[in-house]
Symmetry: D2
Subunit: 92 residues, 4 copies
């Protein structure tokens, strides 16, 4: 993970929001609010983790495999973009 | 969520472990350890959230719909058990 | 699965559409179209299977556990509706 | 998808098995076997689709981005292997 500072900040903000969502689940369980609300909070946290997964995978491809913005071979650049699109749409 | 104390304690312990896993992701991002390790930590946290989801759904069925252990109609009791099995195997 | 004829027809139509989606994946692989298109077809088939899973689970709750439309106890009826909502939003 | 013949055959066999699993779901719904069995069949088909997705993504990385077996830069080769490992463990 020797990515750019900007990416690092973005990922850290994202994971801190997820921590906040998990803390909300904890409070909801502790205060015994309705099951349905607890389940919605858990579903939200899970969606956010999938989003984080997709973003880290995307950054990994750009930083360590092929960055479509700087790859001289247009076919490889295109293939990397396709992979990133799939990761985004499949995991989010 | 007016379930038993025992269930509540179990769920709270589970969600606290997940919070610990999210904090480990945060530290890993902050300390810039390798992508692959970050991705494994995220995958672990996501699996744990799926497990929590399955457990809260199971408790919801038992506490508010049909508890197989106390349902007088054997077919309904069996149907509730089947649902719980599917939730467990599909989400975990 | 001794549900209504209407539900059965709906589920059979749904599973036949999924078979068609799988056959499209097969043709795409056979004709060697681009990876990205194959991946999108697979993602579509997977989404459709999740939808089928959610619908069969919902029918199972209504037919064998508690049908909110005919349950005399309003709290149980409400709990069944909540469960169905979660299954729908979480799996689809 | 201009991958090797061997990969193509493997993927075609895989997708044909999935078609067989979907046909089994169709028969199970048509013959009105128990919900729990239908749900297990659907869960199996979904797992198989996730496996297919992982394999097509892996082939895409090897064929169009970076093939770890032939990449001269060891860091890029390692990064591609890490990505493939994550795709496998996360999707399967």
């Amino acid at each position: 993970m020797t990515h750019t500072i900007r990416e690092k900040t973005k990922l850290l903000n994202r994971v801190r929001r997820i921590r906040g969502q998990i803390e909300a689940v904890e409070r909801a369980l502790d205060q015994e609010i309705g099951c349905a609300d607890v389940l919605q909070l858990i579903a939200g946290a899970r969606g956010a983790i999938n989003g984080l997964m997709a973003e880290v995978m995307e950054d990994h491809v750009r930083a360590h495999l092929i960055d479509p913005a700087h790859e001289p071979d247009p076919q490889r650049a295109h293939a990397a973009e396709e992979l990133i699109d799939v990761v985004r749409s499949y995991l989010k």
